[in-house]
């Protein structure tokens, strides 16, 4: 019998697992996909928001500001790429200045540190590549950029190291109330647990409705993005937002912790996890972004992607024990600022357990912390030492990002090992560069095959069914039509 079963290992599930792993609880995570952080958490704006957007008094307002501060500490402790670069919301017309005033007041009410309004001159001095018709900006120095999948992965890894079980490719298909708690039906068998945490992202409504009366509706909302080459990475130095206008939510332009430039998203309601990019969406994004930063060179794009955020009809995060389902805790509707809020949302779970008298003592032997080898960031002396210790660091496999065989092998041997080519990419960055794995893909595939002892034909690009190779050439002697 588990104490807590967490459904979903995106950033909310991972943060919850990390938080709960500090206590003497039997906790397990059930993730439907074959890797953690493989849905909304891997495809978003990668920003820890300062917290001036949410209306004061909402859960979003409080958890955003608290969560962003906690995230900063966690990223430092777990060696997650993080940079507090600050953000600017631009006013591109006099009418938009009044919107900045409103955001400023929100920010002050929400307790956002260091927030202030800038003149056009101050704004352009900070960001010379902005549109010359900027009339002012709201500056929030606490806004940060992060590697969102690494953030989730790091928390999940430390949780696993401290006793949390992780079940991947393990969707929960049925939930039933039992005398002592709940029974979950999964491919790994029926699992009994006292508490359930619903951190299922865009599937949170479906999971909730398995256990409790219908309460909220998830409205999957797709956002499309451009990821530009590092040659565009210093086009701007802060996260550049626009004011929302009649054409929808503004499009942002932001540096990434990996040195690229991220542009997007739009916001379109879709069915389920429809993450297809569209010509119209991409055209909207590029046109909108040029309003803020006219000189962006979209010819330097290296990838388009889309993510689906779990918008919800209640307007605020859905956090708490579901009515009529004692022990079933929703962490749902985690739209923006869900990533920023995640560590604070996780603390809400321990508050609920504590209120029930079910939060045992903290572990005294907790093993926190995590470091990663990032070869390209090392000094020449450190590089020499690494290769001397392990010659695998002397072989560069991903040329664009200078990722070594040593780092790829690490990704395949971590507490939550990569099993796919994209899993390796998320863990160490191989294939993230301008050739998008065209060069290193076959070599990473070979390393996965050898290290995990599986046939090259069984190596996946990403999710189930994404086999890269279809058959051996020698066996193919006939036409297939």
């Amino acid at each position: 019998m588990l104490d807590v079963a967490i459904i979903g290992c995106g950033v909310i599930g991972a943060a919850s697992a990390y938080e709960l792993s500090h206590y003497r609880l039997q906790t397990a995570i059930f993730e439907a996909e074959n890797d953690v952080a493989d849905c909304t958490t891997k495809a978003n704006s990668a920003i820890l928001h300062a917290g001036y957007d949410p209306e004061p008094g909402t859960q979003m307002a409080r958890l955003n500001v608290e969560g962003a501060a906690l995230a900063k500490e966690i990223c430092a402790r777990l060696d997650v790429p993080y940079r507090q670069c600050g953000s600017l919301v631009l006013a591109l017309s006099l009418e938009e200045l009044s919107h900045l005033q409103k955001l400023y007041k929100n920010g002050v009410a929400n307790g956002v540190p260091g927030i202030r309004l800038l003149s056009a001159e101050e704004t352009l001095a900070m960001e010379p590549n902005l549109a010359p018709n900027v009339v002012g900006a709201l500056y929030a120095p606490s806004a940060a950029i992060v590697s969102p999948w690494d953030f989730a992965l790091a928390m999940a890894e430390v949780a696993v190291r401290n006793g949390v079980e992780l079940h991947r490719s393990c969707p929960v298909t049925h939930i039933e109330k039992t005398a002592g708690g709940w029974a979950l039906t999964t491919p790994d068998g029926i699992v009994e647990t006292r508490y359930i945490i619903n951190a299922a992202g865009i599937s949170a409504q479906a999971v909730h409705d398995m256990a409790a009366p219908h309460k909220f509706t998830i409205q999957p909302t797709r956002g499309e993005y451009y990821l530009l080459d590092k040659s565009e990475g210093s086009r701007v130095h802060h996260v550049i937002f626009q004011c929302p206008n009649e054409n929808g939510k503004g499009v942002l332009v932001a540096p990434t912790v990996h040195g690229n430039l991220l542009v997007g998203p739009d916001a379109v309601r879709v069915e389920g996890d429809n993450t297809a990019c569209t010509a119209a969406g991409l055209a909207f994004v590029s046109a909108a972004a040029r309003r803020s930063v006219p000189s962006i060179r979209f010819g330097e794009s290296i990838r388009n992607f889309a993510g689906v955020r779990a918008n919800v009809d209640t307007g605020d995060f859905v956090i708490g024990e579901a009515e009529g389902a004692p022990g079933f805790i929703d962490l749902a509707g985690m739209k923006s600022p869900g990533l920023s809020s995640a560590p604070a949302v996780a603390k809400e779970v321990t508050k609920i357990l504590k209120a029930h008298g079910d939060l045992p003592a903290a572990k005294t032997d907790y093993r926190d912390g995590r470091t990663r080898v990032r070869f390209k960031e090392c000094s020449p002396e450190e590089k020499a030492r690494l290769i001397a210790e392990d010659p695998a660091y002397g072989r560069v496999v991903c040329r664009c990002e200078t990722i070594t065989e040593g780092e790829i092998l690490n990704a395949l041997r971590e507490e939550i090992p990569a099993t796919t080519i994209d899993g390796v990419k998320r863990r160490c960055g191989a294939g993230m560069g301008r050739c998008q794995g065209g060069f290193c893909g076959p070599r990473v595939l070979e390393l996965i095959s050898k290290t995990l002892g599986i046939s090259p034909l069984d190596v996946l690009q990403d999710k189930a069914g994404t086999n890269v190779l279809l058959c051996e050439t020698k066996q193919e002697e006939n036409h297939h039509d």
Binding site: T275, G465, N467
Partner: protein, 419 residues
């Protein structure tokens, strides 16, 4: 201090090394990141290489083999599995390998031969889902020819670059069905001989002025939607065709691989996306040369080798005779119909008898003339029966002619109207 360090052991690096040795250099080191010499030639198992250089048809590995054999009679040293991380403006080369760890080599001269890479889906923004089954043609070529695996059974090829055409034939021979090759431009980007031998001979249709407007499929490609485009390359609604395919190969252009070049602060040409080079393949840093696809993308390896002969000879001259004295520099400017020129700069005093200019035209041309002008004065005029963007043009400008120039030289083309 090493006389010459060559970054890259593909066809450019191999030819440059041999030429530098022939011109008297004795301390030459090739740094190759792969575990064998030859570069991309190793996966190009089709023939058609070497007609110009060796006077016979060779496969890629055979061509590489010839170049490597030539080095056997020299004392050129090679370090394999060695990745260069940085070349500094004062010619220090930072590199790593399993065997030697982190090295900082000092060189009197450097030749950059890093080749090029393929443009990807992200570079051209194809809408749709992102399932498995979308590969650059070169990556698919590696899987098929070197690893022995087939990446797909029903294939659509986007782009009519040479690698895409070659792979259309290769996949067909391996038992896959190639349904079509789709090209957004009104002309092919590949060699005519490849259109004939790789598409027409196998009844694979080529759709010019078409592109992929949507990719469908959740885990694996299931469909590609192709539409005709207008003269501004915008899809025309109502012209969509559906192709049931499990694989899309992209042959949508090559980009010189110039991270090291940019890092070193060497001036770049936005048209070629390679270094700006002088008549002897020297870059903006004296003693640092570049040749092959890292300078501009070639369609024939034979011309890469030829250009690299020049770079090798120039590096030898630089080390043995010293830096060229300051002299008059003429800029070469791409004029009407010309995409770029290599070299971009010429020092007439350093030209021996003539300088070879390579360039590409921006569209298909019938009977036409190439002109070289200086301040409105025509210095040279050459005739061509036809020219195409997929086939690099070469002209030789005699030294005597260069000495008549007193400013930038413009290379332009125009069609000759038949009477």
């Amino acid at each position: 201090m090493i006389d010459l360090v060559i970054v890259g052991g593909g066809p450019a690096g191999l030819a440059a090394a041999y030429s530098a040795w022939q011109h008297g250099l004795r301390d030459i080191l090739i740094l190759e990141r792969d575990n064998e010499l030859g570069g991309i030639l190793n996966q190009c198992i089709h023939n058609g290489f070497g007609l110009h250089r060796f006077g016979e048809q060779l496969t890629g590995p055979e061509y590489a083999g010839r170049c490597i054999e030539m080095l056997h009679s020299t004392g050129v040293r090679v370090e394999l599995g060695t990745m260069v991380l940085e070349v500094t403006p004062d010619k220090k080369i930072h590199c790593v390998s399993r065997e030697k760890g982190y090295q900082i080599l000092e060189a009197r001269s450097v030749i950059l031969c890093m080749g090029c890479r393929e443009r990807t889906r992200g570079a051209i923004g194809i809408p749709g889902t992102r399932p498995a089954g979308i590969y650059t043609a070169g990556a698919a070529q590696r899987y098929v020819n070197m690893e022995g695996y087939l990446v797909g059974k029903r294939v659509l090829i986007l782009g009519s670059g040479d690698i895409g055409l070659i792979m259309a034939r290769r996949m067909t021979l391996e038992g896959a069905k190639v349904l079509a090759c789709v090209e957004v431009m009104p002309y092919s980007g590949g060699l005519t001989r490849n259109i004939v031998q790789c598409l027409q001979d196998f009844d694979i249709p080529l759709y010019l002025s078409h592109t992929i407007v949507d990719i469908q499929g959740k885990s694996r490609v299931e469909k590609a939607i192709v539409a005709k485009v207008d003269e501004n390359r915008r899809p025309i609604p109502g012209t969509e065709m559906e192709f049931d395919v499990d694989t899309i190969l992209l042959s949508v252009g090559l980009i010189p691989e110039n991270e090291l070049t940019r890092q070193a602060g060497i001036p770049m040409d936005p048209h070629t996306k390679g270094a700006v080079v002088y008549e002897n393949m020297e870059t903006g840093i004296p003693g640092v040369f570049a040749c092959g696809n890292v300078v501009h993308v070639h369609d024939l390896v034979d011309f890469v080798s030829g250009e690299s002969d020049l770079a090798g000879a120039s590096a030898a001259a630089y080390v043995l005779q010293g830096e060229t004295a300051d002299a008059v520099v003429l800029d070469l400017v791409p004029g009407n119909g010309v995409g770029y020129t290599v070299p971009q700069r010429v020092r007439p005093a350093d030209v021996d008898r003539s300088v070879n200019i390579s360039f590409r035209v921006r569209q298909n041309y019938g009977p036409s003339q190439i002109t070289v002008t200086c301040g409105g004065r025509q210095l040279a005029k050459l005739k061509r029966q036809r020219m195409a963007p997929g086939e690099m043009e070469h002209i030789a400008l005699p030294k005597v002619l260069l000495e008549k120039a007193d400013g930038p030289l413009t290379v332009a083309v125009e069609e000759v109207i038949a009477k």
